[in-house]
C-alpha cells in the first residue's frame, strides 16, 4: 500500500568524497538518491524509511557517457535512460543497451531514472541488468577505503541485494568492446500493457568465427529469476557449433529451464524460450549477413 512519505533530511554533498563521508556518518539511516523514480516508491510503500537522503543528481563527475578509442564505453551512473537511448555512442556500439533503456517505463521515468539507480535497485525485473550481464560489464565502486571493481554478474546477490556496502557508491559502469563479427540485442515482453513492467527480458550477444560457427554466445535473462542471470548451459550448447534452427530452439528450451521465475512461472519460462530463440536466430542471421556484405 502506498502511504505518505515519512519526514527525512535532504543532503546535497559537493563531491563523491563527501557523499561517501555522509554514507559513513549516517550508516543505515541514509540512502543515495539519484533520479528517485524507484526510491520514492519504496519509501511510500514503507519498504525503506530513510532519515537522510543523499542526493547525487547534481554531481557532474558522475554524469557522463564516454567511449574510449578501443571501444570501451564508460557510463556515469547518473546517465539517464533517455540520454542513453538517444546517445549515438551507445546505439552505435551497443544498440541492445539503447533498446533496453528505451524500454524502461514511460518518457517521464526515462527522463528522471538513471542507469546507476537501475543497477543498484537490483530488482528482478530491471531492464538494463540482463543486457549488462551479457555484455560482461564491470561496475566501479567507491567507498571509504577507495575504489574497487566488480563484474556485473557478481554484483547482485539476490532480489534487491548487491555486494555494494552501505558506505559505497557506484561511480562508473564500464562496458568492454565486443570482438569483430559480433552483435547483440535485447528482447523483452511486458506483463500486459505497452508501458508495463517487463515480464521477461533476454540480452543476447553472439560472436561468430570466420567459418560461421559460434565463437561465443552470452545470454542474460531478466525478470525470470531473483536477479539477472546468465543462461550458461544454453550458451555452452551453442558455443563452438554451427547451430541450426532445431539446436537454437533446444538452447532456448534449456535457457527457459535455467530461469527460476516465481509468479506466472510456466508462462515466463515459455516466454524465455521465445525470446532467446528469436534473439539468437536474429543475431546469427545479422552477423552472417554483414560478413557476406563485407566479403563482397
Amino acid at each position: 500500500m502506498f502511504r505518505l512519505l515519512r519526514p527525512f533530511e535532504y543532503l546535497e554533498p559537493s563531491c563523491v568524497a563527501e557523499a561517501v563521508e555522509m554514507l559513513v556518518r549516517y550508516g543505515e539511516k541514509a540512502r543515495i538518491f539519484a533520479g528517485g523514480t524507484d526510491l520514492v516508491i519504496s519509501m511510500k510503500k514503507r519498504q525503506i524509511v530513510p532519515d537522510y537522503l543523499i542526493a547525487i543528481g547534481h554531481l557532474s563527475e558522475l554524469d557522463f557517457i564516454e567511449a574510449e578509442p578501443n571501444g570501451t564505453l564508460r557510463l556515469g551512473p547518473l546517465a539517464t535512460h533517455a540520454r542513453l537511448a538517444a546517445s549515438p555512442l551507445v546505439w552505435q556500439r551497443f544498440p541492445m543497451l539503447a533498446t533496453a533503456c528505451n524500454e524502461v517505463g514511460t518518457p517521464q521515468v526515462r527522463n528522471m531514472g538513471t542507469i546507476g539507480g537501475n543497477v543498484c535497485k537490483a530488482g528482478p525485473s530491471q531492464d538494463t541488468p540482463p543486457v549488462l550481464v551479457s555484455l560482461e560489464a564491470k561496475l566501479h565502486l567507491v567507498g571509504p577505503s577507495g575504489k574497487r571493481t566488480v563484474p556485473m554478474d557478481q554484483f547482485c546477490t539476490g532480489p534487491f541485494c548487491t555486494v555494494l556496502a552501505q558506505d559505497e557508491l557506484v561511480v562508473e559502469i564500464e562496458i568492454p568492446p565486443l570482438p569483430p563479427r559480433s552483435a547483440g540485442c535485447y528482447k523483452w515482453i511486458t506483463k500486459i500493457t505497452a508501458t508495463d513492467e517487463t515480464l521477461a527480458g533476454a540480452g543476447v550477444v553472439v560472436v561468430l568465427k570466420e567459418d560461421g560457427s559460434f565463437e561465443d554466445v552470452r545470454i542474460g535473462l531478466g525478470s525470470v529469476a531473483p536477479m539477472a542471470i546468465r543462461a550458461r548451459r544454453a550458451e555452452s550448447l551453442l558455443r563452438g557449433t554451427w547451430p541450426e534452427a532445431a539446436q537454437i530452439a533446444e538452447a532456448a528450451q534449456i535457457a527457459s529451464e535455467e530461469a527460476e521465475p516465481r509468479s506466472r512461472a510456466a508462462y515466463r519460462r515459455r516466454m524465455v524460450q521465445v525470446l532467446v530463440n528469436e534473439g539468437v536466430t536474429e543475431m546469427q542471421r545479422q552477423i552472417a549477413a554483414s560478413m557476406q556484405e563485407a566479403g563482397r
Binding site: 511486458t190 506466472r264 510456466a266 508462462y267
Partner: protein, 793 residues
C-alpha cells in the same frame, strides 16, 4: 510491443437527409467547463478546503472475514491532533445503509436490496472492509492514528468463489442470505417455451462463459467534504452521480430531514457507475458529526479498489441459442451465477439488466433466463458502464458468430436477419421507437473494409495470426420502466436575453453541461454560450434522479427541452404583443424573434426580456419554465463494432491495431462529445477484454490488485487506430432526437475482439479477460483436440 505515436483517431458524422436544420444542436461547441478544467480552476471534492478542516482516514480489514472483537483507541486518541475516532461500537446508532440506493420507490415491482452494512463494520465481510476511521488535524496525524489503533479480530471461515459459496457446507457470508444466494432472480420478460424451442431448433449453439470484476478506475478517487454548520445543517460536497438520492440516503442514515442537508456536487473526476452509490460520504459525515469540525476524506487508490463497488463478475454464464437453418433465432436460454461480494449493492441487478438488454437485442420468440447472485467474502460488486449488458453480449455475440459460421451465413447478415424493427417490442418491454442498426452495420463494414478483409487470403506472418471480427449491441437510454426515470429542469430568461438553466446532472467528465445548454439554447432560439448552467446544489435544484443508465442527455435533456419550451412560449406571447401579431406567427432564431414570412418584422429576444422585467403598470414578469420529465418509453441506442486483431501464437498476446465503431445514438447533440464517449469506451472495453483483472488470492482472500502497479489499464500506446462513425438520425422521443451514448461505447468491445480472435486462430475465448495464458492454453487444447479427431478417424 510497439505503439502508435501519431494521433490515430478518425471520425465522421453521417446525417440523414430528413434531419431538421438546427443552429445549436449538432454543433461541436467548446464545453462550458473546459476552461475551468484546463486552467485548474475547477474544484473537485479533494480541492475543497475550509477553516479548521480535519482530514479523515479509514482502517480496513486485513482479513476477508472476521469479527471485530474490540478496538483499543486509547493510543490513537492520545495522539495530539486526533479529533474523532469511529469504531463499530461507537457508531452503532448509524446503522445500516442501502449501498446501492436502489430500493422500493426507485425500482418498479418492489425489488429491494437490504444491506447490513454500517458506517464502519463490526463484522468484516471482505478484505478491505472499513472497520474504523479517524479525523485529525492533518494527514500525517490521521495516518499515524490509524496505525495506533489496536484491533482484536476473531477470524471466521471465508469463501471467495461463487460456486463454492453455493455448496451446503460453505461458510455463511451474510445473515441476509443463509445459503449465500443473495438474490435468485429471473429475466423479467420471459416468453414462449424455450426448452421446446431448443429441442425443435435446426441448430443449437451454446457455451459456458465467465467475466471478471473490472474496476472503474475513476481518474479521481472517492472524496467527500462534510460539515455541520452553526444552524445545524449538514453541508456535504459529494461526488454522488445521483445527488438527490445521495441526500436522501444520508438523511436516512443520520436521521435528518432531507432539507437539513445541503448536498453540493463539485466537478467529479470520472464515475462510470461507481459513484452511483454513496462512497466516501457516510464516513466523512460521521467524522464531521463526531468531531464537530469540517472533515475532508479522500480515498487512496487502495481505498477505491477495496472499499467501493466495481463491476459484477459472473462466475458462469451458460447460454443456449436455437436457430432455424436459415439463421432465424428461435430461442435463448440463460443461466447465470454472479459474484456479489460481501454486501448487496447494485450487483444483483447486473444480472437482470444484462439479461433484459442482451436477450431482447434480437427478435426471439422464446426466452428464459435465471440468475443466482451469490455472496462471497470479496469486495462488493455493483454497476459499471454496461451494467451486465457487457457480460451478456460477450456471450451472445460470440454464439451469434458461431451460428453464422455453422450455417454458412455472413456474421453481418445473421444479425440483420434477426434485428428488430421500429414498432416491435424493445428489450425493456416497451415499443421500439427507433433503430438504425442496419446503418451502423453498413457504415462500419464499409469503413472497416469488412467484406474484402473477410474474403481475402491471409498472408503468412509467422507466429502472428491476423483476424477480423464484428459485434453489435443495443443499450437502454435511461432505465424505464425498470427504474424510476424522473428529471426536472427550470429555465429562466434574464433581461438581456440570456438564460439560466437549473438542473442537477453529475459532471463526471461526459460534458453534460454542454449538451444541456445546446438543447436549451436550440429551443429558446439563442446561442449555447447564452445559457448559464445553475447546478450542483440540492438547495437550488429540483428533484433529479441523476446521471446513470446513459440517461442524462435524454432525460435531463428532456426536462430541459420542456422547461425551455415553456419559457419560450411566455417570451413569444410578450413578443406577439410587441409586434402585434399572433404568437403562432412567430419564430425565434439566433436571438431574434421574427414574424414568419416577414423578415423585416423583428424584435430581439433581449428586447422582449427587458420589456418584461423592467415593466410598469402591472405588466412585469420574469419568463421562467419549470418542467418534469418521466419517460415511460425507452429508446435503445444501437452500435456495430469491427476489430482487427493480431494474435501472437508464441506469446499469446492479442494486439488490436484497428477498430471501427458505428453508433446510432439518435441525433448527436454534440458529435465531439459522442466521439469522446466512444473512444473512452473503446479504451475501457479493451481493458475489460484484455488487460485488466481484479485478482483475489485464492488462499488468503487478499486483493492482489489494489493499485495501478498490479491492475493494468491500457494506455495511449495500447489504443488501436480508431474510427468513430455516427449515424445521426433522430429518435422520435428524445430531445431533438437524442438517445444515450455513455455505456454503449464499451458494451460491444469484448465480443468484437473475441470474434476477431476466433477468426485469427480458430479458438473461442469464453473467459474474460483474454489473457496471454488463456490464449496459449486454448491454442494447446485446439491442437490436442485436432490430433484426437485425426486419431478417431
Amino acid at each position: 510491443m510497439e505503439g502508435h505515436a501519431a494521433d490515430n483517431r478518425k471520425s465522421a458524422v453521417h446525417q440523414g437527409a430528413e434531419v431538421a436544420q438546427f443552429s445549436v444542436v449538432g454543433t461541436r461547441i467548446r464545453q462550458p467547463d473546459g476552461p475551468a478544467k484546463a486552467t485548474g480552476e475547477a474544484k473537485f471534492a479533494g480541492d475543497i478546503s475550509l477553516p479548521g478542516m480535519l482530514i479523515g482516514k479509514i482502517l480496513r480489514s486485513p482479513y476477508p472475514h472476521a469479527v471485530i472483537k474490540s478496538i483499543d483507541t486509547s493510543k490513537a486518541e492520545a495522539l495530539p491532533g486526533v479529533m474523532a475516532v469511529l469504531t463499530p461500537d461507537n457508531v452503532a446508532e448509524w446503522k445500516t445503509f442501502d449501498r446501492g440506493m436502489k430500493d422500493m420507490p426507485l425500482v418498479a415491482g418492489g425489488y429491494r436490496v437490504p444491506s447490513e452494512e454500517a458506517v464502519v463494520n463490526k463484522v468484516a465481510r471482505h478484505y478491505g472492509d472499513a472497520i474504523a476511521a479517524v479525523a485529525a488535524v492533518d494527514e500525517h496525524t490521521a495516518e499515524e492514528a490509524i496505525e495506533l489503533l489496536e484491533v482484536e479480530y476473531e477470524l471466521l471461515p471465508f469463501v471467495l468463489d461463487a460456486e463454492e459459496a453455493m455448496q451446503p457446507d460453505a461458510p455463511q457470508v451474510s445473515d441476509l442470505a443463509p445459503d449465500n444466494v443473495g438474490k435468485h432472480l429471473f429475466y423479467p420478460y420471459p416468453e414462449g417455451d424455450v426448452d421446446k424451442a431448443l429441442a425443435e431448433a435446426d441448430l443449437v449453439v451454446s457455451g459456458v462463459f465467465s467475466t471478471h470484476k473490472q474496476d472503474h478506475c475513476t481518474q479521481e478517487t472517492a472524496a467527500c467534504v462534510a460539515y455541520l454548520d452553526a444552524s445545524g445543517r449538514l453541508n456535504v460536497w459529494s461526488q454522488c452521480q445521483l445527488a438527490h438520492l445521495g441526500r436522501r440516503e444520508l438523511a436516512s442514515i443520520f436521521k435528518m430531514p432531507v432539507n437539513r442537508i445541503k448536498l453540493m456536487t463539485p466537478f467529479v473526476g470520472g464515475s462510470f457507475g461507481q459513484r452511483g452509490a454513496v462512497c466516501a460520504e457516510p464516513i466523512a459525515v460521521a467524522l464531521a458529526l463526531r468531531s464537530k469540525r469540517p472533515v475532508r476524506l479522500v480515498f487512496s487508490r487502495e481505498d477505491n479498489f477495496l472499499g467501493l463497488e466495481s463491476r459484477t463478475g459472473f462466475k458462469k454464464i451458460d447460454i443456449k441459442m436455437g436457430f432455424t437453418s436459415d439463421g432465424t433465432l428461435t430461442a435463448i436460454k440463460t443461466q447465470m451465477i454472479g459474484t456479489l461480494g460481501g454486501y448487496m449493492g447494485c450487483g444483483p441487478m447486473s444480472s437482470v439488466i444484462g439479461m433484459t438488454l442482451a436477450m431482447g437485442h434480437y427478435r426471439c420468440p422464446n426466452r428464459f433466463g435465471e440468475a443466482h447472485m451469490v455472496m462471497t467474502n470479496t469486495p462488493v460488486s455493483g454497476a459499471m458502464r454496461g451494467f451486465g449488458n457487457d457480460a451478456m453480449m460477450f456471450c451472445i455475440e460470440q454464439l451469434m458468430d458461431d451460428a453464422a459460421r455453422r450455417l454458412g451465413i455472413d456474421p453481418i447478415d445473421i444479425r440483420l436477419k434477426n434485428a428488430k424493427e421500429p414498432g416491435e417490442i424493445a428489450s425493456m418491454g416497451l415499443e421500439l421507437e427507433s433503430t438504425y442498426m442496419e446503418d451502423c452495420l453498413q457504415l462500419g463494414a464499409e469503413a472497416f473494409g469488412w467484406h474484402e478483409k473477410r474474403t481475402q487470403a491471409k498472408k503468412d506472418e509467422g507466429p502472428i495470426k491476423r483476424g477480423y471480427g464484428m459485434a453489435t449491441m443495443s443499450h437502454c437510454t435511461g432505465a424505464a420502466p425498470l427504474y424510476l426515470e424522473h428529471s426536472n429542469a427550470m429555465v429562466k430568461f434574464n433581461e438581456d436575453g440570456s438564460a439560466d438553466l437549473t438542473v442537477h446532472p453529475a459532471p463526471v467528465g461526459q460534458h453534460i453541461w454542454g449538451a444541456l445548454s445546446q438543447i436549451c439554447a436550440e429551443e429558446l432560439g439563442i446561442r449555447a454560450e447564452d445559457v448559464h448552467i445553475v447546478t450542483g446544489d440540492t438547495d437550488v435544484t429540483l428533484f433529479e434522479y441523476g446521471s446513470d443508465a446513459s440517461r442524462s442527455t435524454y432525460a435531463i435533456g428532456g426536462a430541459t427541452l420542456r422547461a425551455a419550451r415553456q419559457a419560450k412560449e411566455q417570451m413569444l406571447a410578450r413578443a406577439a404583443e410587441m409586434l402585434e401579431v399572433p404568437a403562432d406567427r412567430l419564430e425565434v432564431k439566433d436571438r431574434v424573434v421574427v414574424v414568419k414570412g416577414r423578415p423585416d418584422k423583428t424584435v430581439t429576444v433581449a428586447e422582449v426580456c427587458y420589456d418584461a422585467i423592467y415593466a410598469f403598470g402591472g405588466r412585469a414578469t420574469n419568463f421562467a419554465g419549470k418542467q418534469s420529465f418521466e419517460s415511460t418509453w425507452n429508446s435503445p441506442t444501437y452500435g456495430a463494432y469491427f476489430a482487427e486483431v493480431e494474435v501472437n501464437t508464441e506469446t499469446g498476446r492479442v494486439h488490436v491495431p484497428r477498430f471501427v465503431t458505428a453508433i446510432d445514438c439518435g441525433k448527436a447533440i454534440n458529435p465531439m462529445a459522442v466521439e469522446g464517449q466512444l473512444e473512452g469506451g473503446l479504451q475501457q472495453g479493451l481493458g475489460y477484454a484484455l488487460t485488466e483483472n481484479f485478482i483475489v488470492n485464492p488462499k488468503t482472500g487478499v486483493v492482489e490488485t489494489d493499485n495501478y502497479d498490479s491492475y493494468k489499464v491500457p494506455g495511449a500506446l495500447d489504443m488501436p487506430d480508431s474510427t468513430v462513425l455516427i449515424v445521426d438520425k433522430p429518435d422520435p422521443k428524445g430531445p431533438f432526437g437524442a438517445k444515450g451514448v455513455g455505456e454503449p461505447g464499451m458494451v460491444g468491445i469484448p465480443p468484437c475482439i473475441a470474434n476477431a480472435v476466433y477468426d485469427a486462430i480458430g479458438v473461442r475465448l469464453r473467459d474474460l479477460p483474454m489473457t496471454p495464458e488463456r490464449v496459449l492454453e486454448a491454442l494447446t487444447e485446439k491442437t490436442e483436440g485436432e490430433t484426437e479427431t485425426v486419431r478417431g478417424e
